[in-house]
């Protein structure tokens, strides 16, 4: 058991890969077995990941479940894993959403089932690896290869202009990450010039002394990589296309997990590596975030396509998260992290519901629906809960995150916060208006008459998410408890470096140690 706990992260990362090897042996024709087995293996993976939660010590900011082996000594790169409060919950979210999206695609994915389940599980490996890696080269390896399975998922099982969307998705994120790679290499070489050691160990690179002007340039390099992924306002154009054309499972993973990597990257890499630059550029990034909130909301209001609407709402929600993160107060960062999880849960659920509507009607246009509530009461109820969670109704999870973010940011950026608050109102407008047009009104489309309610599998697909919405809404303490040490350490580290540390080190000549 101690062995199991000690290498739990490695097991979590490579269990899906091992599953892929197992699935490769199964005949392509045997689709039922492939679906059931892959879903079962994803469930096992989720249960394994719960051990992380159980054995996670909430009273320390230090990285836990640390594993470290030499990997490429010539570059000073090591196989270095470890998680803190943030990555713990993101890994749990990843394993949960992978299971759910595999369960959700029983009906949606009709052809090439084998390739689909293999790519999903492969994607899981790289997602967990990205959250767990504390070595920059290892992180980059996982980060960038993640694009490939996602690209195939969008391109092979998507709808409409799937190839265009898939290629756009890859090229946008790839260009961003390549510039980011330059930033990493530069910091790596600066550290080498200061200490004479090649190392990609993140915890050591935190101590690199970088002058402020250079920090801002490097921050821009890293920013491009992460901002495309979030996506922040001017870099968001790939997102609606990719979300709209991807299959349901792809959208859920894309919204639920892949968008989190940008924020995670800022939290783990960009801000602690370049603290002074982050303080300097924070107002501008928050401005972009607030523009994103309003822009996403306005564009959502006029969308005719359900999935595109949910996709643009993501842009709006991610704006809140960026506002909270760059306001740099403990409360707002905690709120951001909570909101990060909320976004994964609620937007994932919304995409699942849109997927169910699409499976029944083969249309995503709002005008084709109307009066669904009369035919499908269960679906309507659960969908309403998700919508309200996304709007931020007190008692559901969205409220907690947005409330913390707004409270925390108000002290430092009052104007932006006030403007951002209006985003909550607009969220209510576009989501509830959409819900009203889809679910209520008279039945105009004759096909609605044949509309079937959710079956047991579909209920089980969304049930975990619905439970989580209520749970976080009423009792977020288990999560906040585990996040708080991380957040407080993050801030103290930041202020430490910002104020005194680098000056003292420079004066005493310790910057080279």
């Amino acid at each position: 058991m101690t062995f199991f706990i000690r290498y739990l992260l490695t097991i979590l990362i490579f269990f899906p890969t091992a599953s892929v090897l197992l699935l490769l042996l199964i005949n392509k024709k045997n689709e039922g077995l492939l679906r059931n087995l892959s879903t079962f293996l994803a469930l096992v993976e989720f249960i394994l990941s719960l051990y992380l939660f159980v054995y996670f010590k909430p009273d320390t900011y230090k990285f836990q479940f640390v594993e470290k082996f030499n990997w490429i000594p010539s570059f000073g790169a090591s196989y270095f894993l470890g998680i803190d409060g943030l990555s713990l919950f993101l890994i749990l979210l990843t394993t949960l959403l992978t299971f759910i999206s595999l369960l959700s695609s029983y009906k949606y994915i009709k052809e090439n089932v084998k390739e689909f389940v293999i790519l999903m599980l492969l994607l899981e490996t790289f997602m967990i690896g990205t959250f767990a890696a504390l070595d920059i080269l290892l992180f980059y390896l996982f980060w960038e290869f993640m694009l490939i399975p996602m690209y195939f998922i969008i391109g092979m099982w998507g709808t409409g202009r799937r190839v265009y969307s898939a290629v756009k998705f890859v090229l946008y994120t790839l260009s961003g990450s390549l510039i980011m790679l330059f930033g990493f290499i530069y910091i790596f070489m600066m550290h080498y010039n200061q200490t004479g050691n090649f190392t990609f160990n993140l915890l050591r690179l935190y101590h690199t002394h970088i002058p402020e002007g250079l920090q801002i340039l490097l921050f821009i390099a890293l920013f491009l990589g992460f901002a495309v992924k979030i996506p922040l306002f001017p870099f968001h154009t790939w997102l609606p296309d990719a979300h709209t054309e991807a299959p349901t499972a792809g959208s859920v993973i894309l919204a639920g997990v892949l968008l989190k990597f940008g924020v995670y990257g800022f939290f783990r890499f960009a801000i602690p590596l370049l603290p002074r630059a982050s303080f300097a550029v924070a107002p501008y990034i928050i401005l972009l975030g607030v523009i994103g909130i309003l822009y996403g909301a306005f564009v959502s209001i006029v969308q005719k396509d359900l999935k595109r609407l949910v996709a643009f709402s993501s842009v709006s929600h991610m704006g809140f998260i960026i506002l909270g993160l760059f306001a740099m107060s403990a409360i707002s960062i905690s709120g951001s992290i909570i909101q990060l999880l909320n976004h994964g849960i609620t937007t994932g659920a919304l995409f699942l519901f849109v997927g169910m509507l699409y499976e029944r009607m083969h249309s995503r246009q709002i005008k084709d629906f109307g009066g669904v509530a009369k035919k499908a009461p269960i679906l309507t109820t659960l969908f309403l809960i998700s919508v309200l969670a996304s709007v931020g109704l007190p008692g559901l999870n969205g409220f907690i995150g947005e409330f913390l973010i707004l409270i925390g940011s108000f002290r430092y950026f009052p104007v932006y916060t006030i403007v951002a608050t209006s985003g909550v109102i607009f969220a209510a407008v576009y989501l509830l208006w959409m819900f009203q047009r889809v679910m209520f009104h008279e039945i105009t489309n004759p096909e609605i008459e044949k509309f079937e309610d959710m079956n047991l599998r579909e209920i089980f697909t969304v049930l975990p998410l619905i439970i989580l919405m209520f749970f976080i809404g009423f009792y977020p303490i288990p999560i906040l408890d585990r996040i708080d040490p991380t957040v407080i350490h993050f801030l103290s580290m930041l202020h430490h470096y910002r104020n005194s540390n680098s000056i003292i080190k420079l004066k005493t000549g310790l910057s080279n140690v």
């Binding site: 010539s74 996982f142 390549l178």
Partner: protein, 517 residues
């Protein structure tokens, strides 16, 4: 005391030491002649014997390289050297030759061209590359480049009646002859200004003069001008073989017109040998900053990458696309040389090795899908292949991703290595341009993957999915030589991407021996 005994025990007098230093090449040449003799016997010539004999020859050569590894040999009055640098490059060249032979079996059987001559030419080509890499003398360099080029000209035009093939060979030959003239002229100038042919002696000579301050002041003897002219001309000759931007124009035509196994051989072997010998000459002679050669290389690298990528973006023929991409790759490899130092040269060697496996792998798959009547292949022919041939298409995707420099592949590690060496030396803009170029490059590599896995409905009709090839894939099974090549390439591409440390050590050893004068 042992100094007197050891030569007696090992018998290493001058002649024997010289012979020892060229054993790997000599074995290959021996087998090349053996294969050639098979033409006298009609029955043997038509059988598969030349193929197997070449494989055995390459196997023996690898064996000798392994046996000699770790030794430091100087042969023929210093004009041939053999040390860890050569061990690394011989291994790479022999792999490249091995792939060329392995993939030729079905291709040649199908083409009705004389069999043994082809294999013996490939073997001669391999040996010439090995000679080139180990030569340490201006005359040896020129001779071996000519030797290598002549085999390449013949192989390019090997399809005798075929217009494209002949045209390609003629273009390659005429331009190549010019390049050789430049190279020779450069060698003459270098000899005129330094008075030495041996690279080590030139190096020593220049070092003494540099410390005496003569180079900067012009030396009073006009050394500066002649040396500069010589080095520039020499660089031109090399740049042609490395297919760098202004000297690249032969590449797409020659790669496109040549039989595909030969294209693969040219893209891997010749490029590798040219880069390796350039690396040696560069460290020994160019590094004295007579003029700023790094600035010239900077321009060459930037133009090669940008031109190669943009041209590849526009081409719809797989072989031409890979040819342009090889120009771009040459630009990337050059970054390691510009970055310089131990780190940079080791990175260059690592990238070269990685490049061999991924390029050979990609070309092997082009061969599989190539029909006898289609010398060139349109990208649209690849529509939907991913579903019919899952393993081959997946391997192709992997090689292309490696060429694009996506992590988990050797291409990423190679790029990372050379880029970080350039950042280390302060060439930040070069790296940024290179990274943007990688993003462009990703587009056209992904274009092929799109065709294979996400085909349009109309394209499926013109696709190669339904047409059974005359070779390569027979009754749904890929023939053994091709599949072995793919598996070897796949294995190394993956291993170098995931656990590159072994290969980095190998490259480090090799780069270290560059300075062993």
């Amino acid at each position: 005391m042992y100094n007197n005994i050891l030569p007696a025990v090992y018998g290493l007098n001058l002649i024997e030491k010289s012979m020892l230093s060229i054993i790997p090449e000599a074995v290959i040449i021996l087998f090349a002649f053996l294969v050639l003799f098979l033409t006298f016997f009609e029955k043997l010539a038509k059988s598969k014997n030349p193929y197997y004999l070449s494989l055995i020859g390459i196997g023996f050569s690898i064996l000798y390289v392994l046996m000699l590894s770790g030794r430091d040999l100087n042969g023929f009055y210093g004009s041939i050297v053999f040390n860890s640098f050569e061990v690394f490059l011989f291994t790479a060249i022999l792999f490249s030759g091995l792939f060329a032979v392995l993939v030729s079996k079905d291709y040649m059987k199908n083409s009705n061209m004389p069999n043994p001559e082809y294999y013996s030419l490939i073997l001669f080509g391999i040996s010439s590359m090995m000679f080139l890499v180990s030569s340490n003398n201006l005359i040896m360099i020129f001779l071996n480049i000519e030797f290598m080029s002549i085999t390449a000209y013949i192989l390019t035009g090997y399809f005798k009646g075929n217009k494209r093939s002949t045209e390609a060979a003629l273009k390659y030959f005429i331009l190549g002859a010019f390049a050789s003239a430049f190279l020779l002229f450069g060698a003459v100038f270098i000899y005129a200004s330094t008075g030495h042919l041996n690279l080590y002696e030139i190096h020593t000579f220049l070092k003494n003069i540099a410390y005496g301050g003569l180079i900067k002041s012009g030396g009073g003897m006009g050394i500066n001008i002649y040396l500069t002219a010589g080095l520039l001309l020499f660089l031109t000759g090399f740049a042609f073989k490395m297919s760098l931007f202004p000297f690249h124009s032969w590449t797409p035509d020659a790669y496109d017109g040549a039989p595909t196994p030969v294209t693969s051989f040219m893209a891997t072997g010749i490029k590798l040998a040219a880069f390796a010998i350039f690396l040696r000459v560069y460290t020994l002679i160019y590094n004295f900053n007579i003029i700023n050669f790094n600035g010239i290389l900077w321009l060459l690298a930037v133009f090669s990458m940008t031109f190669g990528n943009i041209a590849a973006l526009l081409s719809s023929n797989v072989k031409r696309l890979l040819a342009y991409s090889s120009i771009a790759q040459a630009g990337f490899i050059l970054i390691g040389i510009i970055g310089g130092g131990f780190y940079g040269y080791s990175g260059t060697l690592f990238y070269l090795l990685a490049y061999i496996f991924m390029t050979a792998g990609a070309f092997t798959i082009v061969i599989i899908f190539e029909n006898s009547d289609l010398i060139s292949l349109d990208i649209n022919k690849y529509s939907g292949l991913g579903y019919k041939y899952p393993f081959i298409a997946a391997s192709m995707s992997f090689f292309l991703l490696s060429l694009a420099g996506i992590p988990m592949t050797s291409g990423f590690m190679g790029k990372f290595y050379v880029f970080s060496s350039a950042v280390k030396s302060g060439y930040n803009w070069l790296v940024i341009i290179a990274l943007l170029n990688s993003a462009i490059a990703a587009y056209y590599y992904i274009k092929i993957i799109v065709k294979m896995y996400m085909p349009d409905k109309e394209m499926l009709n013109s696709s190669a999915v339904n047409s059974e090839g005359a070779f390569g894939i027979i009754n749904g099974a890929v023939s053994d030589g091709l599949i072995i090549t793919i598996i070897i390439c796949l294995f190394f591409t993956l291993l170098m991407g995931i656990y590159p440390q072994i290969f980095i050590n190998f490259a480090n050893n090799s780069a270290a021996s560059l300075w062993k004068i």
